[in-house]
Symmetry: C2
Subunit: 338 residues, 2 copies
DNA sequence: CTGAAAGCGCTTACAG
DNA sequence: CTGAAAGCGCTTACAG
């Protein structure tokens, strides 16, 4: 292994000076710099990250803590993760993925190893034990999602309010007046505190009232089967329905296939709009789903940047709420009698 | 931060002895051990992984290099990754994900940082530049997938031969005699060298010949749309077909929906069997797909273990080929005129 | 602008 | 079985 000592020797300088040009941390004469840079390329020097970490007390590694909920790690999680990894790489950081429990025990253990400079918390619960733990340990962190009272905590999240508003506006604009919400399964104990479910439902209630649309909410877990079942219930219990908003991705696929199976024409007879979905998933439906596209890439990047800014002592990024963006597909249209 | 020095002082021993009990690397009197352990818990000591890494020249971090192909990072990749992360954690290693290019340039750069002890290579191409690079650098690695001549390289992969054999046997046993293969898009430049596509096609040719089944191969890229299109072609060009084997996951979903759309009854009129699929994806089809389940979790684990064994200097794991396992669903049945 | 030296928190021969 | 000491490859005051 070629070390800084080798480089320094070859360039005829001290290792301190090598370090200065490497990190651009002190002014160095162009001539000296050139000598050192030549020595580095000639020797094929690559700086040892571990030694740097130990000396500087900064590993330049950050962790993304992903709770192993009942939730699958699918397209959406992958989007968050890969965009976060990219953002980290661009700033010369590494990202490690920590699939840890929600109670924070494993997280404490891992953070204690002093391996990472900070943590990006995914799937933050409204009341999340991990937040208090990181605060008490003093580990820098950023949230993707937010607790009930996120003020003062660096966080980014989906702007559920705006997303639902825009979704309802879109459907209302098409002429729909009976717009049902297929919400997440808030009655399931694991999800009682799940922000996206809680917030989309609340937003729907508010926006529906505002538009004078009757509030009809059915729950569905995030499976195609459950979506199919709820589709049947929608048509049986609320026959006047002309449009359905669906929170869960795979439930939305099921709602579409379920409606078709029952002989309903999507979108001519009934429109389906997915509230939080990735384009990849949208393409699995036939017709391709009209969606509010989950801003996974944006949030992964913003969350990572928020954390890195803290680590670098830069101006903190203000909390950001990013709405899902409307992406037209084939499952929405004017209602027949609109 | 509580260091080994603090522990040693409190226990009245040297830091060497603390290290010995911590790593269980030399015999220590029960009494001494007890003193040290008490001191550690009293002080809340956690060993600093970075210092350990520098001193021991082993970081206990391994990387999973995932090439950013045209491929998406979906369920399957997630399965590989999370099972690998779990396997690593169980052996007290960390796993980092490196989304790197296929040419090996970024990989070289990252490996040069001495951050990881070894690399698990995902999506290995039949002729993969990364393999030669890692060999020349001398970084330990394990392959998930394999090159054309993987002998001597530690690797694990899907047993495509057995998978296709079992799939054909299953269909043949049901009475099918006209079994079409919807292969991957080998004609696409990116995938000419893609092992799973090449190997499944070769295996189908061999097995079909063996069973006296006419060899019919159509290509499809891994999208639902492409699957739908190919379904139409199958029925138009090979009307006697009673069963379809599909290599690509999302193409398989498209084949099912495409057939239904054309008015064909799945499985009564035609059976569909997905050759490499995750159960999550299977559930998205209606009826749920009959699949050969991709052994993602097994391979992620085995690949990681193969690497860790090398790192620990243990008996190397022999290369392992794991077949996809048959998982019944609703898309296969006896042919009508069987 | 450059260098000598201490130190980051561990591991590991070596000696006893 | 235990300890004193060197060393892993860097960074960073401190001095000049």
């Amino acid at each position: 292994m070629v070390t800084m000592r080798d480089v320094a020797q070859r360039a005829g300088v001290s290792i301190a000076t090598v370090s200065f040009v490497l990190n651009d941390t002190k002014p160095v004469t162009p001539a000296t710099r050139a000598k050192i840079e030549r020595a580095m390329t000639e020797l094929g020097f690559r700086r040892n990250m571990v030694a740097r970490a130990l000396a500087s007390r900064r590993t330049r590694i950050i962790a993304m803590a992903y709770p192993a909920l009942d939730h699958r790690f699918g397209f959406s999680a992958a989007e968050f993760f890969t965009s976060a990894a990219d953002a980290a790489r661009k700033q010369d950081y590494h990202l490690v993925l920590w699939p840890v429990g929600n109670d924070g025990a494993e997280l404490t253990e891992l953070v204690g190893q002093s391996l990472v400079d900070g943590v990006v918390l995914m799937e933050v619960q409204l009341d999340d034990a991990r937040v208090g733990i990181l605060q008490s340990i003093g580990t820098p962190f950023a949230l993707i999602g937010r607790t009930t009272t996120p003020d003062g905590l660096p966080h980014v999240d989906i702007d559920f309010e705006t997303t639902v508003e825009n979704a309802v506006e879109e459907l209302y604009g098409l002429g729909h007046r009976q717009i049902v919400l297929v919400a997440g399964d808030l009655s399931h104990p694991s999800f009682r505190n799940y922000g996206p479910y809680v917030r989309t439902e609340a937003a729907y209630r508010r926006v529906a009232a505002e538009y004078g649309v009757q509030i009809v909410i059915l729950e569905s877990s995030d499976t195609t089967r459950s979506g199919q079942e709820v589709a049947a219930r929608v048509m049986a219990e609320h026959p006047g329905t002309t449009a359905v908003l669906v929170v869960n991705e795979y439930a939305a696929l099921g709602v579409v296939s379920g409606l078709k199976k029952l002989g309903h024409d999507v979108p001519r007879e009934i429109s389906v709009l997915a509230l939080l979905m990735s384009p990849e998933t949208a393409r699995l439906a036939d017709p391709e789903l009209t969606i509010m596209r989950t801003p996974g890439p944006e949030l992964g990047q913003l969350g990572t940047e928020a954390l890195i800014r803290q680590l670098e002592g830069a101006e903190p990024l203000p909390p950001q709420l990013v709405p899902a963006s409307y992406q037209p597909g084939g499952t929405t249209a004017r209602p027949r009698s609109g």
